[in-house]
């Protein structure tokens, strides 16, 4: 099996897109599913959401942010290189049907992963309002792509350097006050998904979030990805990754995400030393 990279785009300084040859996966992929990626023989297996797929071309698109050793290694690959392993589509697809009005909220790299969700929601006949949040103007990407699949697009930046100043939860709250919203989907950093869930809670609007615990196999055989949903332990890789945000034990998720902080720092330090031996 050869997972050749056929296109690469640097969406911002730290966020990159790879289009990878994987015809069988492209044939089955649905919005909300993910792949397990390994770049090299000594590399870790990491989960990355399927941001797009093209059956005709037989390709899968992933968009990821450089945060540590593995994502930094992936960022150094170019067109023509191959991924060592690429398994998927994994996880359950996002529940797509006619709800009425759906709000899609995304932050950071997740802008890319919410596009297929918004597109599918629109195709199912929903009115789709999207909110995308960034820290600052230079990090904005894919405004046009999300606009294309939304009836209405709201953009926020933390520092106000582009469009509306503030966090994504502010326009979300306004929408909930003004309109009948039938469903909210929030994808992005854990704190953002938690904040969105808290915001929608008092309005009683069901909110689906895409959880990102640490995974090893991604097929339900290790339990590394266990999360607590309404007091019940679930495996995010097979029971999710989408869950009802109002039932998630957020504190547990955030604690478990921090399990390997020391080791992650060590890996990055070594990688940087390897990449720039003069230091």
């Amino acid at each position: 099996m050869s997972y050749r990279i056929i296109a690469k785009e640097n969406l911002t300084q730290d966020i990159h897109l790879l289009r990878v040859e994987a015809p069988a996966m492209a044939n089955k992929a649905q919005a909300g599913q993910f792949t397990m990626v390994r770049s090299d023989e000594k590399g870790e297996r990491i989960p990355i959401t399927i941001a797009d797929w093209d059956k005709q071309e037989g390709s899968i698109t992933i968009v990821f942010m450089e945060v540590g050793a593995t994502t930094k290694k992936l960022a150094r690959l170019n067109v023509g290189d191959t991924l060592l392993n690429f398994a998927g589509p994994l996880g359950r697809p996002t529940e797509i049907k006619f709800f009425g009005t759906v709000v899609c909220v995304a932050g950071g790299f997740a802008i890319a992963t919410i596009v297929p969700v918004a597109r599918a929601m629109k195709q199912a006949g929903n009115k789709v309002i999207s909110i995308m949040g960034f820290r600052t103007k230079s990090l904005v990407f894919w405004e046009d792509r999300l606009k294309e699949v939304s009836d209405n697009l709201i953009i926020t930046t933390d520092d106000g350097s582009y469009k509306r100043k503030g966090l994504v939860t502010e326009p979300l709250e306004k929408l909930l006050e003004q309109d009948t919203i039938n469903r909210v989907i929030a994808i992005g950093p854990t704190t953002m998904m938690k904040a969105c869930s808290t915001t929608t809670m008092s309005f009683g609007v069901k909110t689906m979030v895409s959880l990102n615990p640490i995974m090893v196999d991604g097929t339900g055989m290790c339990g590394s990805c266990r999360v607590s949903i309404g007091g019940k332990t679930m495996f995010a890789c097979v029971d999710g990754p989408d869950f009802d945000g109002h039932a998630v034990d957020w504190e547990l998720l955030m604690n478990r995400q921090r399990t390997y902080l020391d080791e992650e720092r060590e890996s990055q330090r070594l990688l940087e030393k390897r990449l720039r031996p003069e230091f």
Binding site: T219, C222, V238
Partner: protein, 467 residues
């Protein structure tokens, strides 16, 4: 009748000093002198009971005879007729409850060390590839394609058989390496990975194609496979889903399933971090919950990774422990502390969600239950705690629902295993067979291999009859 010799040759082992710090194999294997001496003990029984004790019916006296006559290629050939993975079975079979249990010398107190001799022959074969009779790919193909799901012992043995019969065989494996539990579960100090790889290469040399990264049920379903021109499917995905205790605190940081812990170590090589990217937290004070081979493997790994105290928490007594005698002894030699007749009540953590202690009940034994073992009973108000920073839950595994839930017409038992006819491996679904842990629940390497062979024979006769 030959004179009875009860002097069973001991297995040379790596010294305790050195093995505590490495993942190299502990049992070093017989020297040629030892192998011949041990082989000479076999009485060459005319109706050998040992053969009936082996789930795949290896012609035990015959291979021992060939070994005695220094005809190693013949000894290899006899083993391979019934067992395509002798180097693995010779190491990990629970011989004391199978072939060796039935040996006539057992009653006298010292069965022939059949497993060790089997390992000796298989190791000879690996170091003399040029002298082994080649069993190259079968040339006379039927033009029929067969799909195997999973590359553990059941999948490997079934595909080897079918390839030798002339079928075109493809294995679909979910992970990035073949071998199943042999690769991701059993640690290298019991089963070196180059031996597993050698056996996988042998299966490939017969013409079997192994496609990695293929999670069946996701990238394609069993129904898709049948539609795509495969005449039969053999399901061998094992029973890989870990069970937890379901007690308070079980999701604290520092608590692993044995599957996660062993996968990080064996498959991802976390013990070589940071050379390899995958991390593992080993801790200094470790509790391993369970009393089987898996628990022993996990405990012995943590001991090698530098833990100061490693406890085995087991709710019955030593006599009921399912782990092999040899493994229990090795674990104790390596400093693992057996905390018997105790059962976890809850895990205790700090403000950051990090495991700090385990609270245990003391247990006593009651009347035997339906497994014949005495039932453990909780002693009220007997709780006590042990400070730990890592816990490994080794309670066993159950079938992963990924395949059953995506396949039409596949009947399951109430344990979630696939309903399978033990004599043929047939399932309720046309053209679909199943074997190994997915059919029986967690069992043994050799029984999984036996099931693979049975299914291969049944698939062959079915396809011949249907033309």
């Amino acid at each position: 009748m030959a004179k009875i010799n009860l002097n069973r040759q001991p297995m040379p082992k790596q010294s305790l000093e050195s093995r505590k710090n490495n993942f190299d194999e502990v049992a070093l294997g017989y020297t040629p002198e030892q192998a011949l001496e041990e082989a000479s003990r076999c009485l060459q029984c005319p109706k050998p009971p040992c053969v009936t004790g082996c789930p795949v019916g290896i012609d035990i006296p015959d291979f021992i005879k060939a070994l005695r006559e220094h005809d190693m290629p013949e000894a290899t050939h006899i083993l391979k007729r019934k067992n395509s993975l002798p180097g693995i079975c010779g190491r990990v079979c629970p011989q004391e409850s199978q072939c060796e249990k039935s040996c006539v010398l057992t009653k006298k107190g010292a069965p022939v060390a059949i497993g060790r001799l089997e390992r000796y022959v298989a190791d000879w074969e690996r170091s003399h590839p040029e002298l082994v009779r080649k069993q190259g790919p079968h040339i006379d193909h039927h033009g029929k394609k067969i799909a195997i799901v999973g590359s553990g012992p059941a999948g490997l043995s079934c595909s080897a058989q079918l390839a030798q019969m002339g079928y075109e065989v493809t294995i679909f494996e979910a992970l990035h390496s073949a071998g199943g539990v042999l690769t991701y579960g059993i640690p290298s100090f019991r089963l070196p990975k180059d031996i597993v790889q050698g056996e996988i290469d042998y299966v490939k040399s017969l013409g079997v194609e192994i496609q990695l990264d293929q999670v069946i049920g996701k990238i394609s379903t069993v129904d898709d496979i049948l539609k795509n021109g495969y005449a039969a499917v053999f399901l061998a995905p094992g029973a890989g889903a870990p069970m937890f205790l379901d007690i308070p605190g079980e999701n604290l940081n520092g608590i692993y399933s044995a599957n996660e812990f062993l996968t990080r170590i064996n498959l991802m090589k976390a013990y070589l971090f940071p050379e390899y990217d995958t991390p593992i937290k080993t801790g200094n004070r470790v509790a391993v919950i369970g009393g089987g081979n898996v628990a022993m493997d996990a405990a012995r790994c943590t001991a090698r990774l530098g833990a100061e105290k490693v406890y085995i928490i087991y709710r019955r007594s030593r006599t009921e422990m399912p782990a092999r005698q040899e493994e229990r002894e090795n674990a104790e030699e390596e400093g693992v502390i057996f905390t018997l007749l105790t059962n976890p009540k809850r895990f205790i953590g700090d403000d950051h969600g990090k495991l700090t202690a385990i609270e245990l009940y003391k247990m006593k034994l009651g009347e035997p239950d339906d497994t014949g073992r005495r039932r453990p009973i909780t002693i009220p108000e007997s709780e006590f705690t042990i400070d730990i920073d890592t816990a490994i839950v080794a309670l066993g595994t159950k079938p992963n629902p990924l395949i059953p839930s995506s396949t039409t017409g596949l009947d399951l038992t109430r344990w979630g295993t696939v309903k399978t006819d033990a004599a043929t491996g047939k399932t309720s679904k046309n053209s679909v067979w199943c074997g190994g842990d997915m059919a029986t629940g967690a069992a043994t390497v050799i029984s999984a291999m036996g099931a693979g062979k049975i299914a291969a024979t049944s698939i062959d006769s079915y396809l011949k009859n249907t033309g």
